[in-house]
Symmetry: D2
C-alpha cells in the first residue's frame, strides 16, 4: 500500500481528498494536517464521515509527514505550498500540489498573476497535472502542479484541436460558470446563501488568475502564443463547472474533423466522454465523478467551433484529478478509487 | 408626512425597512444610521436599489435622529436596542424596536433567555407588536416590541383558539421551518451556500430564545400558564417561514368551531388569510408580502388540531409587521405601503 | 381608467400581467380569458393572489373582449396570437402581443423560424416593443410585437453601440443564461425540479428561435446585415436572465467612448441602469422589477467589448415591458404600475 | 455472482438500483425492463451513466426475467407489483418489491389505503424489509415488501424505544420533510421547478398512505395498538428526508435510558449512526449514502422525547435498503456495494 498524506486537509478540496483516499484500494492515508484544527477528530469537522473515517488532524510537522508518507497532497493556499513542497521532495516524498504555485514553468508569469515565487528552482521539476494532456510527464514526475478547475474545463476540449492545428489559439473566448464550492469553505458575504441563491453573475471579468494559466498551457500545446478572453460566472449550485468556449478555426477544420480529432484524442481516456452533437453536457451528469464531458457545435456563421465541457469542480477540477495523477505516478490503474458510477440526480 | 428613521439600517431587516419606507405614501425616510458604514451611500451596500433609493448611512447620533424624526425603527442586535430606545422616547420619538429587548413584560423572563436588562423601567410602556392580537394597545403605544418571526408564525394561528378556550395552551408542539435570511447577513459557516444548499436540519432544539417569548404571550392570551415545545429547522430557501403546530383541544372544539373561530377572528384583518381545508399554505404564496396564511386540520386521532401557517420572515416576521404597527400608531390605513399583490413565483 | 384585458391569462406571463395590471393606478382589468380554465376563479389557479385579485377566467370570446376593453394583452402561444390580433384591432382595440407572431417585419424570416404566417398584412402595422429603442413608434402603435426575453437582454446593451458605429454588428457572440420560468408553466421532464436543481447546461445551441429575431433587429438598428452566435443556458433559479456578450469594436471605440455612449443613450430611461466598471450586474438585483442593468468591460486582447446585462425574464423580458409599452401607448407615465423598489434578496 | 434483474428500471428508484447493482461486487445485473422504453439503451435515458453502464431496456417478459435471474427487484407502481411477484416467485426467483403491495400483512389495511389486493395469498410469505428491525426474517425471505421512505425514517428511531417500552406507541407525532425526488420522475405541476423552488409546504396532511403503514409496523413492534399523526412536507432539495418525531414516554424513560437503548439497538448496524445530543442530523450528511442518522432530545416539558432522523430517500429510503436486503437474503456482507464514504457536500 502506498502511504499518502494530506497537508491542509480541512477545506473542501482537502475533504474530498480525504474521502477519495479513504476509499482507495491501494493507498493508506497515514496523516492529515491542519494548522487550525490540529488535535481535532476529522469527523468533528465533517460529521458526514462518521463511522467511515477515523483520522485526527495533526499539526503541520513536515518531518513527521515525510517520515510517514510516500506521496503527499498539498491542499494549501498558494504561497504556502511553495515553502512546503521543497522539504517534502528533499525527504523523498512525491508531491501533488493543488495550489497555483507549481502550475507555471515561467516564474515571471506566476509572479505577474500572484506574488513573488520563493522556490523558482522547483518549477523545472514540476509537471502540469492536466492528466490527459501531460500523462507521460506525470508518470515520471516527483512534483505535480495540479491544474485549476477552470483551466481543466477549458483546456481539455481545446487541447487536441489546438494541437492538431484545427483551432486558432488566439482570440479564444471562454465563458465559464462555476458552482459555489469553488470559492472554498471560508465564510464571506460572497458565499452567504442569501447572496448566491436566486443570483447569477459574472465576476473577475478578464482578470481571474486562471486566465494566464490557460494561456500559458495553450501556448505550450500550440507551440505559439495564445490569447484567451475568460469570463467566469457564479451559478447557484454546490458542485459543477460548465464552460462554453468560442474558438476560431483554421481552414482545415470542419464539423467532421473536429469530431474525429476529439474522439481520437480521448478514445483511451477513461474520464473524458465526447458527446454526440445534440447530446449536450450537463454538470449534473458528472456530479460526484471524475468525468469531463465534452460537446461541440460547428458555428458556420463564424467559421468557428463552440465547445462545451462540464466537470465536477471538486473532483476532475481538483481532488479527483489529483488522485488520478497519483495513480499514474504510482503505476496504479488510472481509475483506481475513482470509478464511481454517476448518479442521474 | 411622518418623518421616520432607521437605526441600524444595513442588515437584512434594515434593508427591507428601507425598501418599504422608501415606497410608503405617507412617510419620509429622513435618516438611516450604521455604525459600520457611516458615510457610505446605501446603494453601495445594496446596489439593487440604485436609482430608487438615495440615502447615505449616518453615524448613530441619537440627538440628530431624534431631531429629524417622529418615529424610529431600531434594527439593532438585542442588548443594544435597550440603551437606544430610552433617549429617543425621552426626546419625543415613537419607537418600534425589532430586537427582543422589549418583547417581554417580565424582565426576569427576558434575563433568563438573554442577558441582564438595562432598561427594565421601559418594559411596562412597551406593547408587544403582534398586530392582529394587540392592535388596540399598539394604537396608543409609544414603544413597540416587535415580535420575533417564529412567534408571529406560531401565535397568529393559536391566539384566537386559545383565547376562545378551544385549544389547550399547555403541551403545544411547534415544528417550524425558516429560510436562511432569518439568520441575518453576517457571514458564517452556518450560512455558507454549500452548507445550506441540499441540506435540511433542526437546530437549537427546544433551546431557541423564541420559545419563552411564545410561552409568555400564549399565557397572556390564555390567562393561564402555557407550555410549548419548539423545534426550529433551516430550509434551503432565502425567504419564508412555515410552522406546523400540533395542539390539544378542549371538549368544546370541533373542526367547524375551529374554522369559525379563526375566520371570525381575522375577518377584518387585511393581512391574515384563513385557508379552507385542503388549500394548504405555502411559503411561496406569501413571499415578498406581509400576509400570514393559516390552514388547519382536525386531528381526530389526538382530539387535536394541526395548524399550518406561512409568512415571509423578513416582512410579516419583521420589517412588514413593524411598518404595519407604525401605520396603526400613526392613524394611517393599516395596509399603507404594504399592499403588494403576491406574485405566484 | 383604461379598460384592459388579457387573452390567455393562466401561464406565468399571464399571471405576472394579472398582478401588474391589478395594481396599476390607471387601468381596470376588465376581462381575462382562458380556454382551459374558463369559469374558474383566478385564485383557484394562483392561490397566492387570494384577497387581492377577484377575477374569473372567461372563455375566449373575442367579441366580448373587444367590447369590454380598450387595450388587450395577448399571452398566447405563437400561431394562436396571429389569428386573434386581427379581430381585436378591427374592433378598435389596441393590442400588445407577447408571442413571436408580430416581432418580425419580414414574414419570410418569421416563417423560417416558426411556421406559415396567417396574418402577414398586419406585420407592417406592428411595432417591435423594445421600449427604449422604439419608443417613438410605440407611442403611435396600435399593435405591438413584444420582444422575446433573450432579445431584450441582448439588444438593450448592443443597440446604442451598434447605432453609434462603435460595435460591429457582425460576429457578435451572446452567451445567455435563463431562469426556469422562461420555459413556461407546462410540466415536462425538462422543468422537473430534480432535472434542473444542481444542473447547468446549454440548450438549443445556435438554433434557438430568438437568434433570427436578434439578428433582424440588430440589422435594423445598424442599417446593415448583422450576425450573432447565440447560446442559451438554463440556470437553476426561478426568475432572471443574464447575458454576457462579446462584440468586436470598430477603430473608433474605446472604453471611455463605450461608457459615454451607453450612459447617454439611457440617461432618460427609467428602467435601464448603466453600471460602472467593477459593479457587475446580478440577476438578483433586478428580481421582481422592470430594470435592465448593464455593465461593460473593455477587452483589450480582442479590441472588443464585453457587455453584461441582467433582467427579470418575466418582467422586463415579458410582462413588465408589455405594461411599459401600454403606458407609452396610453400617454401614461412610463413607470406607472412598475415602480417597485428592488429588494436586495 | 448472483444474477439479478430490475423490473421497471427507468424511474428514479430504478435508476438508483441500476447504479448500485452495476457497481456491486457480487452480482451481475442481467436484465432490466421497461414497458415504455423497451429497446432503448439505458444511457439514452440517463446519459450520466454513459461509459459505465451498458444495458438495454427489455420488454417486461416475466419468463425471460425469471430465466435470467436469481433475484428480482420490482420498481413498479403499486397494484402492478402484486401481479408480477407471483409468477417470479413461482419460477424460483427471490423478489424484493419496492411498491406498497407487500408491506402489509393484513390485506384489509392495505385495501383501506390503496385498492383491492389481487394476491393476498402472498402476504404471509412477505417480510417487511426494514432491515435493522426484521433482519432475521429477511435472511430467510423469498419476498420482501421494501418499506416506504417515510416509514423507514420514522420507524428506525422509534422501533427500539417502543420495543423497550420506553415510548408510548399511541399519540406519536411525525413531522416529516422530503426532497422532491420522492415524488418520482413523472412530470407534473407539483414538481415543476418554479413551483418547488423557494417553496415549502405540507401536503396530504394526515392522509398520506404511509401513515397506516407506520401504524401497522409500530403496533407489530409494540405488541399493542399504535397511533401516529403524520404530516409530510416538501422541501426544495433533490435528495433527502428528515423526520422530527414527538413521542410520549413511559415512566421508565429518561434521557440516559433513551440514549442507551438507541445505542445498544444499533451498535452492530453498519448503516445507523446514533448522534450525540447537540450533534444534529442533517440530510446533507447522508446524501448519496445508505445511512440513517438519528438524534434525540429529552423534552422535559412533555415528559417525552424528540427524535430526529435523516436518510437519503432514494437509498436507505428505497434502492439502498433494497440492496441491503438483497445482501442479507444472499448471505453477502450487509454493506457490499453500499460502502460509499459520505461526501461533506
Amino acid at each position: 500500500m502506498l502511504r499518502v498524506g494530506i497537508v491542509g486537509a480541512t477545506g473542501y478540496t482537502g475533504c474530498e481528498l480525504v474521502r477519495l483516499l479513504s476509499g482507495h484500494p491501494k493507498v493508506t492515508l497515514t496523516v492529515i494536517t491542519s494548522r487550525q484544527h490540529a488535535g481535532t477528530a476529522y469527523t468533528d469537522i465533517y460529521p458526514a464521515m462518521s463511522g467511515r473515517v477515523d483520522l485526527v488532524c495533526q499539526p503541520q510537522d513536515l518531518g513527521r509527514v515525510a517520515a510517514e508518507t510516500d506521496l503527499v497532497f498539498l491542499a494549501l493556499p498558494h504561497e504556502v505550498s511553495m515553502t512546503v513542497a521543497g522539504p517534502l521532495l528533499a525527504a523523498g516524498c512525491k508531491v501533488v500540489d493543488l495550489s497555483a504555485d507549481f502550475r507555471f514553468r515561467d516564474a515571471a508569469l506566476y509572479e505577474d498573476a500572484y506574488q513573488p515565487h520563493h522556490a523558482p528552482e522547483l518549477l523545472d521539476r514540476a509537471v502540469y497535472g492536466l492528466t490527459e494532456v501531460y500523462r507521460d510527464g506525470i508518470r515520471e514526475a516527483q512534483l505535480i502542479g495540479n491544474p485549476g478547475c477552470y483551466p481543466t474545463s477549458v483546456l481539455l476540449p481545446l487541447a487536441p484541436l489546438v494541437a492538431a492545428g484545427l483551432v486558432d489559439p488566439a482570440g479564444v473566448i471562454a465563458d465559464c460558470k462555476s458552482g459555489v464550492s469553488g470559492a472554498g469553505r471560508s465564510p464571506s458575504l460572497a458565499v452567504h446563501y442569501c447572496e448566491v441563491n436566486e443570483s447569477f453573475k459574472p465576476y473577475k471579468v478578464t482578470t481571474h488568475r486562471h486566465n494566464p494559466e490557460m494561456e500559458a498551457i495553450l501556448a505550450d500545446i500550440a507551440g505559439k502564443p495564445a490569447s484567451l478572453t475568460f469570463v467566469p460566472h457564479l451559478v447557484p449550485l454546490t458542485r459543477g463547472m460548465q464552460s462554453t468556449i468560442y474558438a476560431g478555426c483554421t481552414g482545415d477544420a470542419s464539423a467532421d474533423r473536429i469530431r474525429a480529432c476529439l474522439r481520437e484524442a480521448y478514445q483511451a481516456a477513461p474520464f473524458v466522454r465526447i458527446r454526440d452533437p445534440g447530446d449536450i453536457p450537463d454538470v449534473l451528469h458528472v456530479r460526484g465523478t471524475n468525468f469531463c464531458d465534452i460537446g461541440f457545435h460547428w458555428d458556420a456563421k463564424r467559421s468557428g467551433v463552440i465547445l462545451m465541457s462540464v466537470i465536477d469542480n471538486l473532483l476532475k477540477g481538483a481532488a479527483g484529478q489529483a488522485v488520478q495523477n497519483m495513480n499514474i505516478m504510482s503505476g496504479f490503474d488510472e481509475t483506481d478509487g475513482l470509478g464511481f458510477i454517476p448518479s442521474a440526480l
